[in-house]
């Protein structure tokens, strides 16, 4: 027998393949297929106006936080880039409403994980996956999707389905990445906050803990923040300071801000000269000094476009849907599931003809 040398690759360097091989998609795909079977042969209404509204960007830290005046001790931390080839991982997930059936709505979700390892960018894109969400299957779909996350989702309202779907898939992706990679900086799109429900906090805490156990540091970057201080957006507070620098917001009121639980240390960061300032959340369980070093490693090992990490930017680009994506998905649904496409019934036009339409109708 001819012996063959077996080379074992370092787990972190074979990460993208591991993600695919780990079968992250298996259950989600099954759920997608099962849900889509319920759409088979149904009437399918594609409303372009509605679709257009779903292309709009979400606000990254959707939970409203407020910083009380006077309780705002803050310090500026100048940063120095550390070049040590720490892997950088960016995760983003997008969703879109594809159309409406007579029983519910069809959404599509796509996730992207982009890595920068050994100065090379690689991506793994997951999806798009369509889901037919109806009153009948909504509970089953969401509880199945959230099962691995040890989180019991309360039944979301029909209108929130798209956001829930996107969040669950994103959480699953984040959880998998936290488990799979080691000694890396993991970038999430958004903040490290959770609602006050115990299960949501547990879910986020568990993901952060898993990441820590694998020597990873999770950072949440919000492109658009609603956090304000004396009427100023916190991202404006760094104006006049020489980048790269961090501005830590140490407000005791932030730990339990209303209905939110903040699990990260909140910073305002301007990471590159000429770049924008972003809200940066770093896992609170990581010591402060270590957090700052992690940001310095991010600066040293990542390409920053307008001060924004390239891995996260690419993850966003790879996951976002374009209009042609939507048409392609609609085509698949019609061909594969025999959906019957109908023209959108515009009530204004039906009732009033050309006189009842608004500008642009």
């Amino acid at each position: 027998m001819i012996g063959q040398l077996q080379y074992e690759t370092t787990p972190k360097y074979s990460f993208p393949r591991s993600l695919k091989d780990a079968g992250i998609s298996k259950r989600i795909v099954e759920l997608s297929l099962n849900s889509m079977r319920t759409a088979s042969g149904r009437i399918f209404d594609v409303n372009d106006e509605e679709l257009a509204s779903f292309f709009t960007e979400r606000v990254d830290d959707k939970y409203q936080l407020s910083i009380k005046d006077g309780s705002f001790p803050a310090s500026i931390v100048p940063l120095r880039a550390i070049h040590d080839e720490t892997p950088i991982i960016g995760i983003d997930v997008s969703s879109i409403k594809i159309g409406v059936t007579d029983a519910g709505a069809i959404y599509a979700v796509r996730g992207a994980v982009v890595t920068k390892i050994n100065n090379c960018y690689r991506y793994v894109r997951f999806g798009p996956l369509p889901f037919h969400i109806t009153k009948e299957n909504i509970h089953e779909v969401f509880s199945e999707l959230s099962r691995d996350l040890s989180v019991r989702f309360h039944l979301p309202s029909y209108i929130d389905s798209q956001i829930y779907l996107c969040n669950i898939i994103e959480k699953r992706l984040r959880a998998y990445v936290s488990r799979l990679v080691r000694r890396s900086i993991i970038l999430w799109d958004g903040s490290l906050t959770a609602g006050m429900q115990r299960n949501l906090i547990n879910d986020l805490s568990k993901m952060l803990r898993t990441a820590r156990e694998n020597s990873n540091i999770v950072m949440g970057i919000s492109k658009d923040t609603s956090l304000k201080f004396i009427g100023w957006r916190i991202t404006d507070l760094l104006n006049g300071y020489k980048p790269p620098c961090l501005f830590e917001i140490r407000s005791p009121s932030l730990s339990h801000a209303g209905s939110l639980r903040v699990l990260g240390r909140i910073y305002v960061a301007r990471l590159a000269k000429g770049g924008c300032a972003f809200r940066l959340d770093i896992d609170k369980a990581i010591p402060r000094e270590e957090s700052i070093v992690a940001v310095e490693k991010l600066i040293g090992n990542e390409m920053l476009y307008q001060g924004y990490p390239e891995t996260l930017r690419l993850a966003h680009i790879y996951s976002t849907f374009t209009a042609s994506d939507v048409i392609g998905i609609q085509r698949l649904l019609i061909r594969k599931y025999g959906l019957k496409l109908v023209a959108h019934n515009n009530m204004h036009r039906t009732l009033f003809g050309p006189y009842g339409t608004r500008l642009g109708d």
Binding site: P16, K20, S25, V29, S32, L33, A108, V114, C120, Y121, R122, Y123, V124, R125, F126, G127, P128, L129, P130, L314, I317, Y318, T322, A323, S324, D325, V326, I327, G328, I329, R331, L332, R335, K336
Partner: protein, 488 residues
């Protein structure tokens, strides 16, 4: 394929990547409920305006270069997205309607968008429907769907035709096919051969004689084509002097007197004509003008007093007709520009004379680069007046601007080879037999030796043909300095 929209006589049809359609092909839009089918021709192919494509391309082009990766796309949706992005829009022109299996020119109806079925119509079916081949077929070549297309010689009879295309695209080759095809059916063809390209029509490529050998006569002015003044009547010589040699009106009047005097005295020779001009009592300027034209006639070598070396062009035409048709090639390649005009004027005048006196039935005239030997004002005369006598002209040129706009408008058939120059395309698009859009869009992309046939020969269904090869010895090729190296 799906019908998208109709504007005027232009149809827009959505076509998907797995449906192969080329510019110039015909489509049938079948509306079973209306019991009608519309025939349209694809004149242009564009990308369908799929929303988001620009965004998709911009973002992928900016990152593809330095990012590798893979898609975990379990439902293979990406293939559908790419399929949509590659969708094309066929710009088509309406050419008629089929009702109960019969072709009509009706185009005012609108086929259903939802249940019309669109498919390609083979050229063979189109040819049968429109009865393009007729009873006297001349094989031109193969269409895009490899159908051997023949045109009906009847459609060249009594017609004005134009063969045009940029240099090296095969105009002369196509003209040879047409000329030989006409000769096959007993027609008399006269070719004004500017570059001596047709002189070997009677020989195969290997130099051996072909079946046309006996039907082809090559006339070289000053050598094998000489005439006496006696053969040349006053009408012919006057046209030659006025049109070719620019003799002014007053001088022309005096010349007429001299000619009649010589004719009466039986001394109509070159020698006597010269003497008569010298001795004629008239204004010195007129005398000088007449003598300079006389010198031109003598120096051309085209006129002779030796009856033995002179030929009768008229007799040759009649003989050709008696022998069941043939081709008379007037080789103008070694003739100076002024002599060229003289020879052509003589030939045309003789043709007109013979035709008007019903000595021959009709002549198909092939005129290569006619602007080089005919004045612009004379073309209208050829096109409008002489066609009534039975002179049916085919203009061959690579400079479309040298043909008068009137001629384009009156052309019954246009054989278009490739042009890319916008100015040329604009001029050609004046041809009344097809719309400007069809011409400019299709001709621009025609490969070499492909021709767009327009007009009566294709019953107004523009068809692209790859011109067939011809086993004829090639002449008139460009001479190359580096010929030996090319052969190596």
């Amino acid at each position: 394929m799906r019908l998208f929209k109709k504007t005027g006589n232009t149809m827009h049809i959505l076509c998907f990547p797995d449906e192969e359609v080329e510019k110039g092909e015909y489509l049938l839009i079948e509306d079973e409920k209306a019991h009608k089918s519309m025939i349209v021709q694809v004149i242009d192919i564009e990308f369908a305006n799929v929303p988001g494509v620009m965004e998709e391309m911009l973002r992928s082009s900016s990152i593809e270069e330095f990012v590798e990766g893979e898609d975990d796309d379990p439902l293979d949706i990406m293939s559908h997205i790419l399929y949509i992005q590659d969708a094309r829009l066929l710009i088509c022109k309406v050419h008629g309607t089929i009702v109960n299996g019969k072709l009509t020119s009706e185009s005012s109806w609108l086929p259903s968008r939802t249940h019309s079925i669109i498919h390609k119509i083979p050229t063979e079916s189109l040819v049968k429907l429109a009865n393009i081949e007729g009873s006297l077929p001349i094989m031109i070549g193969e269409t895009q769907d490899s159908f051997p297309l023949a045109i009906d010689a009847h459609q060249l009879d009594g017609r004005l035709s134009i063969v045009t295309g940029k240099k090296g695209t095969g105009k002369s080759h196509l003209s040879k096919i047409l000329a030989l095809g006409l000769a096959d059916y007993g027609a008399i063809v006269v070719i004004l051969d500017l570059n001596g390209e047709y002189t070997s029509l009677g020989y195969n490529q290997d130099g051996s004689k072909n079946r046309y050998y006996d039907k082809i006569k090559v006339l070289s002015p000053g050598k094998t084509f000489k005439v006496t003044l006696y053969q040349t009547n006053l009408y012919v010589i006057m046209r030659t002097l006025v049109y070719a040699l620019g003799l002014p009106g007053t001088s022309a009047r005096e010349f007429r007197h001299i000619w009649k005097f010589l004719e009466k005295t039986g001394r109509l020779t070159l020698h006597d004509l010269g003497e008569a001009i010298q001795n004629w009592k008239c204004n010195q300027h007129v005398k000088d003008a007449l003598y300079s034209r006389y010198s031109a006639l003598v120096n051309s070598g085209f006129f002779t007093d030796n009856m033995a070396e002179a030929i009768s062009f008229e007799k040759m035409l009649r003989k050709t007709e008696r022998n069941g048709g043939g081709i008379i090639i007037i080789d103008l390649s070694d003739t100076s520009p002024s002599d060229r005009q003289m020879v052509v004027e003589y030939a045309l005048a003789k043709l007109q004379e013979a035709l008007s006196q019903w000595k021959i039935r009709a002549v198909f005239l092939f005129a290569e680069e006619a602007h080089l030997y005919l004045k612009e004002t004379y073309w209208d005369d050829i096109v409008t007046r002489m066609r009534h006598f039975g002179l049916f002209t085919t203009f061959i040129t690579n400079q479309p601007n040298t043909i008068h706009e009137n001629i384009y408008r009156q052309a019954d058939n246009v054989f278009l080879l490739n042009f890319v120059n916008e100015h040329d395309l604009q001029i050609i698009s004046r041809a009344a037999r097809a719309d400007a859009e069809t011409i400019t869009s299709i001709v621009r992309d025609l490969p070499s030796h492909h021709c767009l046939l327009l007009g009566k020969v294709v019953k107004d269904f523009p068809i692209i043909v790859k011109i067939r090869s011809l086993n004829v010895k090639t002449m008139g090729q460009t001479r190359f300095f580096f010929a030996e190296k090319r052969e190596i």
